[in-house]
């Protein structure tokens, strides 16, 4: 067999494999829309997204998911606030400061954290953090925003720190040498040269960490408390979108309005994660092009 024909065959095999994953993905998105869209015959998009009341099993039912959206956004936002400094600082410490031995230990610990099943983290939130919160702050329940945010942050830290670390690691040595040769200290070099040069990667890391958090189900199901109402403080319970879907799908009759509304929540979630990924993509490109220059 000639080398040329071999090349062509190999090319098509790869094409076929990539096609399979695209088709599967397409089918999933298609069924998501087919099952979810009919709800909008019964309730307007506006009432669905901005409606304040989520009573899908009442008679008459009410399908307002605004409290669920707020629930998702608030835990994502808070988890990000916790995870970004920790993840980024850990990455800086690992790639620039830590001696070789500590570096290896830290890296394995973070990998271990990434490998923990979310149900284990959720369990930790339920039996350790929740009772502690309840007692310390004298709350009706410890299953609330702050608890969920802390646990979600733990899940986002490995993503944020490992991608940031790659970005920091790939900052050219020439930049560091130039900085040191001008009499900059290590700290000055990190702040003024290394971090700005790695900014695109760090931003991507943050966006991907957020995308990971907003779609996370098990943790929010276990520790967010499940109240479908707009929260008034970080000690209130919420019901993020994935938690609603997971909790209610089992009891929603097939192709009922409730069932359809849960799929529609899936559509909203799909667009939200898509947005995060697109922003991550955009940010990393934008910084890469002009970026280098205007920092």
């Amino acid at each position: 067999m000639s080398r040329h024909i071999k090349e062509i065959i190999i090319k098509y095999i790869f094409f076929l494999f990539s096609l399979v994953s695209i088709v599967v993905l397409g089918l999933i998105v298609f069924s998501l829309f087919r099952e979810g869209l009919p709800i909008f015959g019964k309730v307007s998009v506006r009432d669905f997204i901005f409606g304040m009341e989520w009573y899908p099993t009442y008679d008459p039912p009410s399908f307002g998911i605004f409290p669920l959206i707020i629930g998702s956004l608030i835990v994502t936002f808070m988890a990000t606030i916790i995870a970004v400094p920790l993840g980024v600082l850990a990455a800086i410490y690992i790639s620039e400061i830590a001696p070789a031995s500590i570096k290896e230990i830290l890296k394995s610990v973070i990998e271990l954290l990434a490998g923990l099943p979310s149900v284990v983290l959720g369990f930790f939130g339920m039996v350790i953090i929740a009772p502690w919160l309840q007692e310390t702050f004298d709350l009706p329940t410890g299953l609330n925003i702050i608890n969920a945010s802390v646990i979600l942050a733990m899940m986002a830290i490995p993503t944020i720190s490992s991608i940031s670390e790659d970005a920091l690691y790939s900052v050219p040595r020439e930049f560091k040498e130039a900085s040191y040769a001008l009499g900059a200290t290590k700290f000055e070099t990190i702040i003024q040269v290394i971090i700005p040069s790695a900014m695109s990667g760090i931003s991507t890391a943050v966006m991907l960490g957020m995308a990971r958090v907003i779609g996370e189900t098990m943790v929010v199901l276990m520790v967010a408390g499940g109240a479908a109402a707009i929260p008034e403080s970080i000690f209130d319970s919420v019901r993020p979108m994935p938690a609603s879907i997971a909790a209610e799908m089992g009891e929603a009759p097939f192709r009922s309005a409730h069932y359809q509304s849960l799929f529609a929540i899936g559509i909203v979630l799909f667009f939200l994660t898509l947005t995060f990924n697109l922003i991550a993509d955009y940010v990393s490109h934008k910084f890469r092009q002009v970026g280098s220059g205007t920092l």
């Binding site: 200290t185 700005p196 205007t294």
Partner: protein, 251 residues
């Protein structure tokens, strides 16, 4: 010639177990250009990086002997390498501007030390003029330095080093990545700079060494073989090895 601004006394240097410089004693003369020549791997860059403690950044390295700058050993325990690097500037083989604006490249160093406070614009202009780059970039100071040509980038790197008002300028093959025109510009620049600075330059280009330097040191496998006035080295070297290298019979 006791105007030695920098003196090496019996210096050995090791990368781990591997000795890269052996028993080097020499003296660099103030306001002169000294060229370091020798075949690849003989330790020229190592020596240059020793002079502003850049080798500190490589783990597992070790120095023996004394390197005196203004009569103080720069490897004495009470000396801060950061201070040394502020007084002894360096230009690298590959132009390495920061991915920042032209202006910020120049102001980076002075800002760290508080040099040029209140008058940064003037310092930036002066440094760029010294590096004969001002006319080419004066309208694009806020554009990225990465968009400049290689030769312009290298002059920017020189300007950046000059902005620190160093006493000595170390240059490691500063023109090896550049075209002949940029090279000529940088050579002219060196000619100009030596009025105010002491310059130590590594080069593989024999004509360049002969053209621009006052003193020349020839190294071979970590040893200083011959060190003398450039005229002498290039017309009538004392040692056969030096002559062979300069005439291109080896290396």
């Amino acid at each position: 010639m006791d105007s030695g601004i920098m003196k090496l006394h019996k210096v050995n240097f090791y990368y781990g177990q591997c000795r890269a410089l052996t028993n080097i004693s020499m003296k660099f003369v103030k306001n002169k250009v000294t060229a370091l020549i020798g075949p690849s791997g003989c330790g020229k860059s190592t020596l240059l990086r020793l002079l502003n403690r850049m080798n500190d950044l490589i783990s597992g390295t070790r120095v023996e002997g004394e390197i005196l700058f203004e009569d103080k050993n720069i490897y004495a325990p009470d000396i801060d390498p950061v201070e040394i690097r502020r007084k002894i500037g360096m230009v690298f083989q590959k132009p390495n501007p920061f991915p920042k604006t032209i202006y910020n490249n120049i102001s980076y160093g002075p800002k760290l030390t508080g040099l040029g406070t209140g008058n940064m614009d003037a310092l930036v202009e002066q440094s760029l003029k010294q590096a004969v780059l001002w006319d080419e970039v004066k309208d694009i100071l806020n554009k990225s330095a990465m968009n400049l040509s290689g030769g312009q980038q290298q002059r920017l790197c020189i300007a950046r080093a000059l902005a620190m008002k160093p006493d000595i300028l170390l240059m490691d093959e500063p023109t090896s990545a550049l075209d002949p025109i940029s090279t000529a510009k940088i050579e002219e620049l060196i000619e100009e700079l030596k009025k105010n600075y002491t310059i130590i330059i590594v080069t593989h280009n024999m004509q360049q060494a002969a053209r621009i330097s006052d003193e020349t040191a020839f190294f071979y496998i970590g040893n200083l073989v011959e060190y003398n006035k450039t005229d002498k080295i290039f017309t009538n070297p004392d040692i056969k090895q030096t002559e062979d290298y300069i005439t291109g019979r080896f290396g």
